[in-house]
């Protein structure tokens, strides 16, 4: 790893960081935004420039940051010839597109968004070409699908844009999923997820049984991305995007990702029959079909889109041949295609921008009106046609040369003939682009009178055309780059010599046939076009739409039938499924032998058990009588608490009994507003079925619990017992676990409880301001009331008990660290003490006498607990490690001070605040319903003369 290598992650990150800037510059205008978009691109290009000489000399730069080495996950980058060529293409064309888009987009488009998406996409593409780890590559691969979705759908107001974006995402995303599978298989075979290792393990991979599925899955990814037949249809629909997007995505980047991947994997996968027949055939078919369709497209961008598909087919076919010469031809054509196709897309954009139409049938004669554009367009189109002295000719010759000696199924004619046909149609549509757009007489019915655009707009395509001609005239200039990339593809140094004249080769004859035939085809275009329209070509979009709507209706049928809105049914299905799963696990795994003796049954415990079972029976069978069921529910809670006491869990017993009290009060308050009885359900079979499900669940859980309790298990508990006093400074191990060992859990739980309190408050507020509030105000909830709702005895006794109850709370809080108790229980005891006042003396009277904000209490609780936890950082220990010490101040006995107590204070405040906020919310509903407000603590105060209670004042 050299110091230059550390540029690699920076290069990969730069566009993503840069993407943040244009997005927030929405008001800065197009020029400023475009400038800031160019900055990261230029920086990345400069860094590549530093690395380029080394790569040209054959150095491969690598850089890796291990993340999860056990899983083969690391952020690994490498740069070789192929990667460098692609990275330069991506960044260079990105820069040209940035300039072009500045002039293409109008001031009304959200330009900041556009450039943000563009940089995101650029970063994703760069990531693909310089990742060394295939899992990382997959992430970038998916990112290109996502960011291209944003770019294609950039004009959100156009339905075609949205549909095209969805289609592109569906097709390339599905391919990406397949590729994930393929890549994982590949990584498994090679024993490493690093590309360098995989490429070196080519023989091992080809010999593996898993070679075929891996190849098919990876190719699915590559073919969908590179729009190969039969997945080609998304690309023409993606043309609804703004032209800069089309020029970028469909000349240099997105669609080349598939080709790049095939080139990248070439050493590992190519050279087998499977590879040849799959890749070369798909490429050949795509090349011919797309070229034919392109000739009959009237939309300029549609023509270019199908031509792109055709050229991608050509590249795929070359890579499929699996020979070194074909790989060189492919690399060279990638470069050439980029130059002329990006220029052509930008030309089409200029024409659309100036003439306000892209329909070839409405254009013509533009050469005289926009001469600069015409020169650019004609040069690029001649190169696309493969006319000598333009770079497209050179790589097309190499392709035909390769095709001329390729046998397909032992037949030497099929490939050369079809390749010539493809080239012939390619000539025809290229010439059509020239003659039907720029040639012919000037018309007077353009939607807008076209003229040459400002220089900023034609500069980018003109720049590319320089390369078209330069390479076309002096091909040896491209030799170093082609050799560099081709060496990386094939895995050993190549010595390609690119020249214009190869002698009278078969390729030359094929080329001549193609040019002559193409010219003839163009002359016959009118009758052919009429026949084409009459034949009514098959549109892949309708098939795609049918498949998608089929999927949608299938999933709708499934979800509608599963989710019919009956919650009780979901619960029944869920319970039955869980019980079945548990039973299957039992059948499958069996059970270990019993290792613990049962404890003898204590008589008092048996009595408690009987009470609990009877109470449960009453709740279940009498649940229609709601008050009765509620009161009996309290019995169960009490029995559970008593059981906890008996079974050595004093903390649990304290918590359970105080929670029990609060719960019953809460339910009683709620029942105040609900019907007092539940109607008996008539559906007996259903009840029996529910009963059966419930019984199965009960038996299952009981046997599970029994099995658990009668077997031993080594747990980590001994650690807690051994270290509670040493490290946590407390003898109540349960409390030390809560505030120290597992303090983080407790911290999360008090936050949840606080949120629950706030949710209830918010729900209540929303309810009261809505129709429910109106219903409440008009209801007659207050009729059957006692006339003495705040009786003397109760008021006096609760007031006497209040300080005692608070004292108990403080005591429980303070001793919590060493004896049963703690923040949770203390919080509950405090709330019960306050609640008694509410119940005895009434809501308004109590509220006026205490000044706490329950919301703030929850907040302070969480803050105090959090700060206490964070305080541990100051002493360099992890979050929530407690510190403690012993203090002796005469005349008090020695006592302990622990930060854990502070944390427990947070718990206490949060619990108190949440519980009180919940009950406060419910009682607010009562007041809303017209509950009378008592200003005096007693309804009948013997020390005052009797007076009427004020009504309805809140």
């Amino acid at each position: 790893m050299t110091s230059e290598s550390s540029f690699l992650p920076i290069i990969a990150l730069l566009p993503f960081l840069g993407a943040l800037i244009p997005g927030v510059m929405i008001r800065a205008g197009r020029t400023a935004t475009a400038t800031f978009t160019a900055v990261p691109t230029v920086l990345a290009l400069v860094m590549l420039g530093v690395l380029a000489p080394g790569v040209l000399n054959g150095t491969v730069y690598t850089f890796s940051i291990p993340w999860l080495p056990q899983l083969g996950l690391e952020a690994a980058f490498f740069l070789d010839g192929l990667g460098l060529m692609f990275a330069c293409m991506i960044l260079g064309v990105g820069l040209l597109i940035t300039l072009y888009a500045r002039y293409y987009l109008s001031g009304e488009d959200p330009v900041g968004q556009f450039y943000t998406y563009l940089l995101l996409f650029q970063g994703a593409m760069l990531g693909i070409v310089i990742s060394d780890n295939i899992l990382l590559l997959l992430i970038f691969w998916e990112l290109t699908s996502l960011s291209s979705f944003l770019l294609i759908g950039y004009w959100k107001h156009l339905p075609e844009g949205r549909q095209g974006a969805r289609m592109a995402l569906t097709v390339t995303g599905a391919g990406g999923l397949a590729m994930i599978g393929g890549m994982l298989i590949l990584g498994n075979i090679a024993g490493s997820y690093n590309l360098t290792d995989i490429l070196a393990a080519g023989d091992l991979i080809k010999a593996s049984d898993w070679y075929t599925p891996a190849v098919i899955l990876i190719l699915l990814g590559a073919f969908t991305k590179s729009a190969q037949f039969p997945f080609h249809f998304w690309l023409p629909h993606a043309m609804a995007a703004p032209t800069p997007v089309s020029a970028y995505l469909h000349s240099a980047t997105m669609v080349k990702a598939g080709v790049f991947l095939m080139a990248r994997m070439w050493p590992a996968l190519s050279g087998t029959e499977l590879w040849f027949y799959l890749v070369a055939t798909t490429g050949l078919v795509t090349m011919v079909i797309a070229a034919v369709i392109a000739l009959f497209k009237d939309d300029l961008k549609g023509l270019l889109a199908f031509s792109t598909v055709s050229h991608l087919g050509l590249l795929t076919m070359l890579l499929g041949f699996g020979t070194e010469a074909a790989a060189i031809a492919a690399v060279f054509h990638i470069l050439n295609h980029l130059t002329f196709k990006a220029a052509l897309f930008m030309t089409a954009g200029i024409i659309d921008h100036e003439a306000h139409t892209r329909d070839i049938k409405r254009l013509g004669g533009l050469a005289k009106l926009m001469p600069i554009t015409a020169v650019i367009g004609i040069v690029a189109a001649l190169s696309m046609a493969g006319i000598p002295l333009f770079n497209g000719f050179l790589s097309k010759e190499l392709m035909l040369e390769e095709a001329s000696h390729t046998n397909w199924w032992e037949n030497p004619w099929i490939v050369p003939v079809l390749a010539t046909v493809g080239a012939l149609f390619s000539v025809a549509y290229s010439l059509r682009f020239i003659f039907h757009v720029f040639g012919g007489p000037v018309r007077d019915d353009y939607p807008s009178k076209p003229h040459d655009p400002p220089m900023g707009m034609w500069l980018s395509p003109a720049f590319l055309c320089i390369f078209v001609v330069l390479i076309g005239v002096a091909p040896f200039l491209a030799e170093p780059v082609v050799n560099m990339a081709a060496s990386a593809v094939t895995g050993h140094t190549t010595h390609a010599h690119l020249k214009i004249w190869h002698g009278l080769t078969p390729a030359l004859y094929m080329s001549i046939i193609a040019v002559a035939g193409g010219a003839v085809l163009l002359l016959l275009h009118r009758p052919l076009d009429a026949a084409w329209i009459k034949a009514g070509p098959f549109y892949a979009k309708s098939a795609f739409d049918a498949v998608i709507s089929g999927c949608v209706s299938l999933s709708r049928v499934i979800s509608d039938n599963l989710h019919n809105g009956a919650i009780s049914r979901y619960l029944a299905i869920f319970t039955a499924a869980t019980v079945t799963a548990g039973y299957m696990a039992y059948l499958g795994g069996g059970i270990a032998p019993q290792t613990r003796e049962m404890l003898p049954i204590a008589p008092v415990f048996a009595v408690g058990w009987v009470l609990l079972v009877c109470a449960t029976g009453v709740v279940v069978f009498q649940h229609h009588m709601r008050y009765r069921a509620l009161v009996v529910l309290g019995v169960i809670g009490l029995m559970v608490s008593a059981g906890f006491v008996f079974l050595s869990a004093p903390d649990l017993a304290l918590t359970q009994i105080s929670v029990e009290t609060v719960t019953i009060m809460l339910l009683l308050l709620a029942l105040h507003f609900l019907p007092k009885t539940t109607p008996v359900e008539k559906d007996t079979p259903r009840r029996l079925l529910d009963g059966a499900v419930a019984l199965a669940a009960g038996v299952g859980v009981a046997s599970l619990a029994y099995a658990f309790m009668t077997r031993d298990l080594d747990s980590i508990s001994f650690y807690h017992l051994a270290n509670s006093y040493k490290e946590g400074g407390g003898t109540n191990v349960v409390n030390v676990i809560l505030v120290d060992f597992r303090g983080y859990d407790t911290y999360g739980e008090i936050i949840v409880l606080g949120i629950a309190g706030l949710v209830i408050f918010a729900l209540m507020e929303a309810l009261l301001s809505g129709p429910a509030g109106a219903r409440l105000r008009n209801s007659g909830y207050n009729f059957d009331r006692s006339h003495d709702r705040h009786p003397l005895m109760m008021v006096v006794s609760t007031r006497v008990m209040m300080p005692i109850a608070l004292m108990v709370g403080v005591y429980i809080f303070l001793r919590g660290h060493n004896q049963p108790g703690g923040g949770f229980v203390a919080g509950l005891v405090f709330s019960i003490a306050l609640l008694m006042q509410y119940m005895a003396s009434g809501f308004a009277w109590t509220m006026r006498r205490q000044q706490f904000e329950y919301h703030a209490m929850i907040g302070w609780g969480v803050v105090i607990a959090g700060l206490t936890g964070a305080g541990a950082w100051l002493s360099g220990t992890p979050f929530l490690t407690s510190a403690f010490g012993y203090v002796h101040i005469p005349p008090i006995e020695e006592f302990e001070l622990a930060t854990a107590a502070l944390f427990d204070l947070g718990v206490f405040l949060c619990v108190l605040g949440a519980v009180m906020l919940m009950l406060y919310s419910l009682s607010r509903m009562a007041r809303h319903a017209g509950e009378t407000v008592n200003l005096e603590p007693l309804d009948y105060d013997p020390s005052r003369p009797a007076k009427m209670v004020e009504k309805g004042k809140a």
Binding site: T616, L647, A649, A694, L738, L828, M918
Partner: protein, 116 residues
């Protein structure tokens, strides 16, 4: 003892599941309370049963202690299940006041509206 605790868990679960399958909100709340008891006791029981062995460390002399970890888990679970019950109560109150009845299943007509 174990058989009593296990059967109590079973009884509570049976009652709880039966009640949450009812069609009104209130029995469902009761059922959830029963299920909370069952789950809490079940979690507690995974620490195995012990009598007179609370996990309070004794400074003097040897003592046996029961497993403190499930107790710590259950302690917070009890408080959280209270919070959950309270939220549920509020939901059902709201639903009842808004809709005028406290059935929990949607009528066919309502689901069809939803699908459109």
């Amino acid at each position: 003892m174990e058989i009593l605790v296990a059967s109590a868990i079973g009884v509570l679960t049976t009652g709880g599941v039966y009640l949450i399958l009812r069609l009104r909100a209130f029995p469902v709340i009761l059922g959830l309370s029963l299920l909370s008891y069952a789950v809490n006791v079940f979690l507690f029981s995974t620490g195995r049963l012990a009598i007179n062995a609370p996990p309070i460390l004794q400074k003097y002399g040897d003592a046996t202690y029961t497993d403190p970890l499930p107790q710590a888990l259950v302690l917070t679970a009890i408080v959280i299940s209270f919070g959950m019950t309270a939220v549920l109560v509020m939901f059902s109150l709201g639903a009842y006041l808004e809709a005028g009845n406290d059935t929990i299943d949607m009528k066919d007509a309502e689901t069809e509206d939803d699908a459109v």
